[in-house]
């Protein structure tokens, strides 16, 4: 399900941007596969991998964080700067979406099932979503200004597709607070990388 949503996101915005950029530069795009782990915890699920230093991204045409079964779905979403995210309430109860974190502060108010609200994210950073009705609900939106991003699966695996060879700054964010920033050179052809995050 999560994989499908990730693919949908790529297909909707990121892929078009990647294709256009790849064709424009004439570079042969590479795939970067990898695995992310956390110290003492093993595979890092829902870690966000970003390669920065390349072309800027365009806003995604569509992005959504659903509310059902008293949970935000998916738990972590990556959107490009300027993207408007839809927050439908597909649950059986009222919900609220608010965030005070650095990239965006907003409060969509409490709204009933069947209703939907939207919010545009115009600044890169991390937005922690909360519901003031249900304290157990939480999710994250990571706003990026690069088209080269991926989210790890439950085994910590990720795949960055169509990255032009070159040197980038690789950032990895995880909700635990563990992170990583390093320089990374994407070689021509496929490559693999193993990353271990650390607390600051």
């Amino acid at each position: 399900m999560k994989k499908m949503q990730g693919l949908q996101k790529l297909a909707s915005g990121g892929f078009a941007a990647l294709l256009a950029l790849g064709l424009a530069s004439g570079a042969h795009a590479s795939d970067v596969a990898g695995q992310v782990s956390l110290p003492r915890r093993g595979a890092a699920r829902d870690a966000v991998i970003m390669l920065e230093g390349g072309p800027k991204s365009s806003p995604l045409a569509k992005a959504m964080v659903d509310q059902r079964d008293k949970a935000f779905v998916p738990h972590v979403t990556v959107v490009t700067q300027g993207t408007t995210v839809e927050f439908p309430n597909n649950d059986t109860v009222f919900h609220n979406v608010f965030a005070y974190f650095n990239a965006k502060k907003f409060d969509l108010g409490v709204y009933p099932r069947g209703a939907s609200k939207r919010q545009t994210f115009d600044k890169p950073g991390v937005v922690a979503l909360l519901c003031n009705v249900h304290s157990e609900m939480s999710a994250y939106i990571v706003v990026v200004d690069t088209p080269y991003t991926a989210i790890t699966d439950s085994r910590g695996h990720f795949l960055l597709r169509g990255v032009p060879p070159g040197t980038y700054t690789l950032h990895v964010w995880h909700e635990s607070g563990a992170q990583l920033t390093q320089s990374y050179t994407v070689p021509p052809g496929a490559s693999e990388v193993v990353l271990t995050l650390a607390r600051k």
């Binding site: 005070y100 974190f101 922690a128 939480s138 909700e175 607070g177």
Partner: protein
């Protein structure tokens, strides 16, 4: 000099009686001291038991209420925002709700974000990660214990503030172990003994007026004179405090 037989007999009787009287006095003194030792030790045991119950009840109550507060979405939201003036106001509100003497909020790395009594405009950055409660809460575990905080003895509790499965901050609440608790303890015990709380020999709270410093032995009660009155005094570590910490209580038996 020679004594008559009669005189010798009388002297023998007198000596024997004197010896017996002395023995009886010594025996009575020893028994009285033993009884006082026993009574003061019993007082210490009873005081320790009631105090442990007091602290356990207060700790449970503080921890349960603090857990509820830590679940509030508004706190989860503001703990990330790190607006110090707002977080200080939140800490003040929580202190009132908890009927505690202080509340401190930190981020997930143990950096102080807001604390009652600390001016957010002029507060220097404060790293609380070394405090046992904050360290435990940072690792996702609730903690309670007795500790010296800002020169005062406190019962402290710390709980993690989590978003999903991850810790994003900590909440610490503390109640002073002071004169009020000593008076409550004395009333509850109804033994007539007074109680003093000490940290490193310094008096932090007592059910009677005391000098700033007071020491008492751990092994056996000792007679001490305070403001002209005599008490048998015996020390014991506070329940939940390490014996070497110097945090304890003294029972003063008039």
């Amino acid at each position: 000099m020679r004594f008559s037989l009669r005189t010798r007999i009388l002297l023998l009787i007198a000596g024997t009686l004197t010896g017996l009287a002395a023995l009886i006095v010594v025996a009575i003194t020893l028994l009285a001291r033993q009884e006082m030792n026993r009574t003061v030790r019993a007082d210490v045991r009873a005081t320790g038991g009631v105090l442990a119950q007091f602290l356990r009840d207060r700790s449970d109550s503080l921890q349960n209420q603090s857990r509820q507060i830590a679940r509030q979405p508004v706190l989860k939201g503001y703990i990330q925002d790190t607006d110090r003036a707002t977080l200080k106001d939140l800490a003040d509100d929580y202190r009132q709700a908890l009927r505690a003497d202080g509340v401190a909020l930190t981020d997930r790395d143990g950096r102080l974000l807001g604390e009652t009594g600390v001016d957010p405009e002029n507060a220097a950055p404060s790293d609380r990660a070394g405090e046992p409660g904050v360290a435990a809460a940072m690792s996702g575990t609730a903690w309670s214990g007795v500790e010296a905080r800002g020169g005062a003895l406190t019962l402290s509790i710390s709980v993690p503030i989590t978003i999903g499965p991850e810790v994003w901050g900590t909440l610490t609440a503390y109640s002073a172990i002071n004169d009020d608790l000593a008076h409550s303890l004395k009333t509850a015990l109804a033994s007539g003994s007074d109680v003093a709380f000490v940290s490193g020999g310094r008096v932090e709270g007592a059910s009677l007026p005391l000098p700033p410093r007071l020491s008492a032995p751990r092994a056996a009660p000792r007679l001490v004179t305070i403001e002209g009155a005599q008490y048998f005094a015996l020390y014991a570590p506070l329940p939940g405090a390490a014996p070497a910490s110097g945090m304890g209580f003294i029972v003063l038996r008039p």
